[in-house]
């Protein structure tokens, strides 16, 4: 476990020194919050249990984007790049067990996701008067942790089936971009046709978004059902990752 923390330190250091990763993961949700707040800032949005201000909706909605970027998009890109460069192969040539490398990297996903959502929430509260009762903070930490861990597993599964780093970005974006739109991340769920939400329900991003939004709605709390679906997806990802993950690039 000490070794996993050792690995976590360096994974975080590498993330922190990569301006591209920092920008796309941490800053993007904030930029979207400013834009969406300006464009769609008036009126109210219908959520289970009442109506809320758009900013109150976009903070958890874009928080979902932050979690998926930190845990899955960023992970798939770095892992496939490191695999192509031989970094993973080189690490396998040391005595360090595989699970330590995976655990260290997964923990870094959780830490980065928590930081991203934390910044988003603080900006939301300070700049837009978003309301998050202090009593819901532990629930938020739980949802972000479970969500990022699950998407991290899905990231390893994707990295296992993607052949090279060159195809990592287009493949991942092709998967997540449409899902962001139909899952209530960019467009509030009350404006999405029911059948499209039905499609989104078949994928994990919608369930994570629902669990996030529920924490910011008037009568909300932890949506165990949605969180469970996210965790289940994570478990499936883990099984695929364990069976298919390669340390050496495809010949």
């Amino acid at each position: 476990m000490t070794l996993a923390i050792h690995q976590l330190r360096y994974d975080l250091l590498v993330f922190w020194r990569n301006p591209q990763a920092r920008f796309f993961t941490v800053l993007m949700p904030l930029i979207f919050l400013v834009i969406f707040g300006a464009v769609f800032g008036s009126g109210t949005i219908q959520v289970p249990g009442g109506e809320i201000d758009p900013k109150q909706y976009y903070v958890p909605g874009l928080g979902t984007l932050g979690i998926v970027s930190a845990a899955m998009v960023n992970l798939v890109i770095t892992v496939t790049t490191q695999r192509d460069a031989g970094v993973l192969k080189r690490r396998r040539a040391t005595p360090v067990p595989a699970w330590v490398l995976i655990a260290g990297r997964s923990l870094s996903c959780v830490v980065i996701a928590l930081a991203t959502v934390g910044i988003l929430v603080v900006v939301g509260i300070v700049a837009y008067g978003v309301d998050l009762p202090a009593s819901r903070i532990p629930a938020l930490v739980l949802v972000v942790a479970v969500g990022s861990a699950a998407f991290c597993c899905l990231g390893f599964a994707l990295a296992a089936v993607i052949r090279s780093a060159d195809s990592a970005v287009p493949v991942v974006q092709a998967i997540v971009l449409p899902l962001y739109f139909i899952s209530g991340v960019f467009v509030p769920a009350d404006q999405i046709p029911g059948w499209l939400l039905g499609v989104a329900d078949a994928f994990p991003i919608r369930h994570l978004a629902e669990a996030m939004v529920a924490l910011f709605s008037p009568a909300g709390g932890v949506e165990w059902g949605h969180l469970g679906v996210v965790a289940l997806w994570g478990a499936v990802g883990l099984v695929i990752a364990v069976r298919r993950f390669r340390w050496v690039r495809a010949a």
């Binding site: 590498v14 192969k89 005595p95």
Partner: protein, 288 residues
């Protein structure tokens, strides 16, 4: 240290390694020399535990590299063909990260000293030259204090001065008493660094020996060559394209006789040279 017999590796129809036998003693520096595609890297990757062999027996540090026991990787250092440093970490951070993977690592300061990177300790790896990145790779292999090191083409793509510097560093590892297996397709590199050279071609060992004796080089006849003057007696040997080539087990008496004849005939022996086959001659013959 290493005991390999009848090692085979096939990829589909292709036989990359066809029955290699190799024994390496502790403290030896052995070079696997051969052209691209000779099976060097495949052989080394099997011994490193990265590939499963198709046939034959292999033992490295007393264990099967295809199924290494716990603790085996603590004792083996590996330098892969391509450089693998994390560009965003500094030299010291990179080495400290890898040191953390080992139970009894060498001190990071010592390793930087050994590979000559002490002055660049706080430089990001991405800002190092190709030769310096290679030094880090060697440093990563040394940081676990291994008994055995594999160096896969350590100087491919280097300019001559970077190669010299790398040789000096590798020669320094010998002083530590580490056993080294080196692959290369440069003859001068093998000659310079290795106690013993194993020449591979088409997946087989075609010759083996010390740099001085490889391919019977030490026992081969010397060649006396010069521009043949007119009237050179036939007893001295053949003339090819106006150049006399005389093979002699013992060249000195032949040279004396030749000099006497030239004096009497009043001719000069232009471009006179006496040489034994170079390692390059032997090598090119072996892998042809």
């Amino acid at each position: 240290m290493i005991d390999v017999s009848g090692l085979r590796m096939t990829y589909g129809e292709v036989e990359a390694v066809r029955g290699v036998d190799l024994r390496v003693q502790a403290g030896e520096v052995v070079a696997l020399l051969g052209p691209n595609g000779a099976g060097k890297t495949t052989t080394v990757e099997i011994l490193e535990g990265f590939r499963m062999r198709s046939g034959g027996e292999a033992s490295v540090l007393g264990a099967d590299p295809g199924d290494p026991p716990k603790g085996w990787r603590e004792r083996v250092g590996i330098v892969l063909q391509e450089s693998v440093v994390e560009p965003l970490l500094t030299v010291r951070e990179c080495l400290t990260q890898y040191a953390g993977y080992y139970a009894k690592p060498r001190s990071v300061e010592d390793v930087m000293e050994l590979v000559g990177l002490s002055d660049l300790a706080d430089r990001r790896c991405g800002q190092l030259s190709g030769g310096q990145q290679r030094r880090i790779d060697v440093g990563l292999a040394l940081v676990g204090d291994p008994e055995l090191i594999f160096l896969d083409e350590p100087t491919t793509g280097f300019d001559p001065s970077a190669r010299r510097a790398a040789w000096q560093m590798i020669a320094g590892l010998r002083e530590l008493g580490t056993t080294i297996i080196l692959t290369t397709h440069y003859m001068d590199e093998a000659e310079h660094l290795a106690d013993r050279i194993v020449v591979l071609a088409r997946g087989e060992i075609v010759a083996e020996g010390t740099p001085g004796s490889l391919g019977g080089r030490d026992r081969e006849a010397a060649v006396i060559a010069f521009s043949a003057p007119p009237g050179l007696p036939a007893r001295f040997g053949a003339v090819e394209d106006g150049r006399a080539l005389i093979r002699a087990e013992n060249p000195l008496p032949v040279l004396r006789e030749l000099a006497e004849w030239a004096d009497q005939a009043g001719v000069q022996l232009l471009d006179l040279e006496v040489r034994r086959p170079t390692l390059e001659d032997v090598y090119l013959q072996l892998v042809a």
